[in-house]
């Protein structure tokens, strides 16, 4: 008799341990802005991937004589640039460049920086001194200036050209950021018991480093990545301003802002549209970054 009553009274069972993925999804999509950020990023990837299909005009095709610096509206939704090329189409192609400059640079520098940081932190001693001091040396160069120097050099040897010059130059300039983050995380974790336990169980250094230390570095790394994606796109704009940006006729948001800058008084859409595009994408990156950090770090859930 007793058992029956328990059930029909409607006492809820203690919450069943929600599967990790379901909790991740619930937390991630909990904040509407994070969802918005993801939507923007997805749209950007689609725009970059299917740029040729989406663009009303060929972004590189010159307009006719009278179509230079048209105001937004009419056939050209966002107006045209000096050579009569459609700003909207170049904006869509620009997404491709921004993604390439953003993700590939972050990927390259992460691919080099993260292991360096872990190795330096894990082994310590001379290795730590050498790696971290090298990183400090690179950190001493303001990112834009190092990129400027490297781009000037890389451009000479035209082993790589165009957008890759900008990507390689920027990647090298931001490697120290990753090394320092993972170095810090490794130092703080190295002393924990479960790392020693792993060593005691005889797992190899590599395994400890990349199976146990690396995952802990993800939250701070994600924050760093989202902050840097914005900075990278701005650096590309800076390089265009200094004259060594993407090769013509490439369409890049940074270069378009530089064009807009030169024809400021005549066509505000020329700088406003890439400006808003950059702001939107960086906002999206940061929101998704915050969302990921929350989802991966339950302690902070629902408080930010």
């Amino acid at each position: 008799m007793v058992e029956k009553h328990t059930s029909d009274i409607g006492f809820s069972e203690a919450p069943v341990r929600a599967s990790e993925w379901r909790r991740f999804r619930r937390v991630f999509f909990e904040r509407k802005l994070v969802t918005f950020g993801l939507v923007v990023l997805v749209l950007m990837v689609i725009a970059a991937a299917f740029a040729p299909l989406l663009t009303p005009y060929d972004p590189y095709e010159l307009g006719d004589a009278g179509e230079s610096l048209l105001q937004p509206g009419g056939e050209h939704l966002l107006g045209t640039d000096l050579l009569g090329r459609d700003t909207l189409s170049r904006l869509i192609y620009g997404a491709r460049t921004a993604l390439m400059v953003g993700f590939i640079s972050v990927f390259i520098s992460g691919f080099i920086g993260v292991p360096l940081g872990i190795i330096a932190g894990y082994f310590g001693g001379v290795i730590n001194m050498v790696i971290m001091r090298a990183m400090d040396a690179i950190m001493c160069f303001p990112m834009l200036l190092l990129a400027l120097l490297l781009a000037a050099v890389l451009r000479e040897y035209d082993v790589i050209s165009g957008i890759w010059v900008v990507i390689i130059a920027l990647s090298i300039a931001i490697i120290p950021g990753y090394a320092r983050v993972t170095h810090g995380v490794t130092l703080s974790i190295k002393e924990n018991e479960y790392i020693m336990a792993q060593r005691a169980m005889g797992s190899s250094n590599m395994r400890v480093m990349f199976r146990h230390i690396l995952p802990n570095a993800f939250p701070p790394l994600i924050v760093l990545v989202t902050m840097q994606l914005g900075a990278l796109i701005l650096a590309e704009a800076g390089l265009s301003f200094l004259g060594i940006g993407i090769d013509p006729p490439g369409a890049a948001w940074g270069a378009m802002v530089w064009d807009g800058y030169r024809y400021l008084a005549n066509n505000t859409a020329l700088w406003l549209s890439p400006g808003i595009a950059i702001a939107l994408v960086v906002f999206a990156f940061n929101m998704v970054g915050d969302g990921l950090r929350d989802a991966l770090d339950p302690r902070l859930r629902g408080l930010l």
């Binding site: 230079s68 050579l83 006729p249 030169r262 406003l272 808003i276």
Partner: protein, 532 residues
């Protein structure tokens, strides 16, 4: 969701006031602009310090042997020459009153102006003139210096040059040596190096203005020279030339009335906007602006550009009027020969290769490049839009252009010394008497842009003939010069593109003939400003 709306709202909020601030038809609050009056009848007014802004700046102000074109323009108010061009390109006397050429015993005798003193009070005479020529020779920078045998002071104001050869072009080269005060230079230091160091940032000449302050990359301050040899001049109390590297900022300064004159103004759109707002734009008589052309690496046998048909195809493939219209808003002059319409050496009606893509493809096929080929175009970042335009047009006929944007270090080295591969987009100055035909594209040693351009023997012969001593000056040699231009066109030696615009923009109250004379000569002594 409201957080996002706020964000967009804020973004718009930021953009709106600034956006409104710079739309072009907004009411401008610049000082009241009086209707532009024609300078001729106005009665010049004394006084005022003219604020000049420029996109380039001199690095040397008082040591002529190291002057670059920019340095010499900024030195004009302070240092003068023996002779200079007038509007029509005729040499008019300045520090020299007359010059006599004796072709038989190869001498040039300069009769110098009397009663002229340097700013430090020392007299201008034949000895000072000889000293300046010697200074140029020692510095290894005197053009045609290799033809100078000896320099002779005949009399207090007569100076003779003994030469090993003579051409009419030398008058201009020698006449343009800028004269500085020998005494000021000599007592500026013990060793030559110290004196040169001093001269780099100090300038003592005979000009209408004295240089009183030079802050590198910041400002040049001139003051009026009271005992200037032209009576009653200069009208201005002084000139302040400051360095504004960014054209958009310079345009903003003009619009805000923070500057009186903007020299080296090259962004066409800003110039036209300012003109619309009532400022005066001196386009200059004759030839201001640079002569843009594609220089082929045609002397390299295995480059496709060595084949004349390929060069012709490239010329056919480019719609120069359309690009000139687009880049220059109607201010650029599309070119179809190695001379501009305002130029004496221009051959009327000679337009060998107007825009004809079909013909271009045909020529490429004949040359065995039916499938097109890949070439690179080297250019500076300032010409980024031009390269994009050329890339588009050449791309239409199958010539796949790979742009090579170079920083000015690499660009100038390639252009002047080490040569370049395929094509380079080059800009060169234009002289009214077609002399730059020889300077830029003529035979060595004078020319510096020879690099790797193939020049047909006929063309070179014509160039030499044009320089024959039998001609007293360029105008006599003009027929031969026109033949040379025609020959260059026939050979498709280079691919002329367009002549751009480089002007001076002035507030309406400023009256000056700046850049009136071929973008090189400026007569600051007769510049004046209405009270404003």
């Amino acid at each position: 969701m409201n957080k996002l709306l706020v964000c967009l709202l804020v973004l718009a909020l930021i953009a709106v006031p600034l956006f409104a601030a710079c739309d072009e038809d907004g009411v401008t609050t610049t000082p009241p602009t009086t209707p532009p009056t024609t300078p001729a009848e106005e009665e010049p007014v004394y006084g005022g310090v003219m604020r000049v802004v420029g996109g380039t700046f001199p690095s040397v102000v008082g040591y002529p042997p190291e002057f670059s074109p920019t340095d010499s323009i900024y030195a004009l108010p302070c240092i003068e020459r023996l002779c200079e061009w007038d509007e029509d390109g005729v040499q008019i006397p300045v520090l020299a009153t007359a010059w006599v050429v004796d072709q038989d015993n190869l001498t040039i005798t300069w009769y110098l102006r009397e009663g002229v003193t340097f700013h430090d009070g020392t007299p201008w005479n034949a000895e000072a003139c000889r000293w300046n020529f010697q200074l140029q020779l020692d510095g290894g920078r005197l053009p045609y210096g290799q033809y100078v045998e000896s320099l002779e002071v005949v009399d207090e104001y007569i100076f003779r040059m003994h030469l090993t050869d003579y051409t009419w072009y030398m008058i201009e080269q020698y006449g343009w040596v800028m004269m500085i005060s020998p005494t000021a230079f000599e007592n500026a230091g013990d060793t030559l190096e110290e004196r040169i160091d001093w001269a780099r940032s100090n300038s003592v000449g005979t000009g209408p203005f004295q240089l009183v302050d030079f802050q590198r990359d910041v400002i040049l301050v001139y003051e009026g020279n009271d005992d200037y040899w032209r009576e009653g001049m200069p009208y201005l109390d002084g000139i302040e030339a400051s360095f504004i590297p960014d054209p958009v900022t310079a345009a903003a300064k003009m619009e805000a009335g923070e500057a009186d004159m903007w020299i080296y103004a090259q962004s066409v759109q800003s110039i036209l906007d300012l003109e619309e707002m009532g400022l005066t734009v001196n386009r200059g008589t004759g030839l201001s602006g640079m002569f843009w052309s594609l220089l082929p690496n045609s002397s390299d046998p295995d480059s496709p550009l060595a084949i004349q048909e390929v060069r012709e195809a490239i010329e056919y493939a480019i719609d120069r009027p359309a690009i000139a219209e687009m880049l220059g808003f109607g201010e650029y002059e599309p070119l179809h020969q190695i001379a501009s319409q305002d130029w004496p050496g221009y051959v009327e009606g000679y337009d060998p290769r107007p825009y004809d893509p079909a013909m271009a493809e045909q020529l490429l096929a004949d040359a065995g490049y039916a499938g097109g080929f890949e070439i690179s175009i080297m250019a500076t970042d300032a010409a980024r839009d031009a390269v994009s335009a050329l890339q588009a047009y050449l791309g239409d006929v199958g010539i796949d252009v790979e742009p090579d944007i170079a920083d000015f270090g690499r660009y100038f080295t390639a252009l002047f010394f080490t040569g370049w591969d395929d094509l380079v987009l080059a800009a060169s100055g234009i002289n009214p008497d077609a002399t730059d035909l020889f300077v830029h594209f003529g035979p060595t040693p004078m020319t510096f842009m020879t690099g790797n351009i193939y020049k047909s023997p006929e063309y070179l012969a014509l160039c030499d003939e044009a320089l024959d001593p039998q001609y007293a000056d360029a105008f006599e040699a003009m027929d031969t010069i026109r033949d040379a231009v025609m020959q260059a066109g026939e050979d498709a030696m280079i691919i002329p593109l367009w002549r751009d615009l480089s002007v001076a923009v002035m507030q309406s109250y400023v009256h000056s003939d700046y850049f009136m004379i071929h973008g090189v000569i400026w007569t600051p002594y007769d510049t004046w400003m209405e009270p404003h």
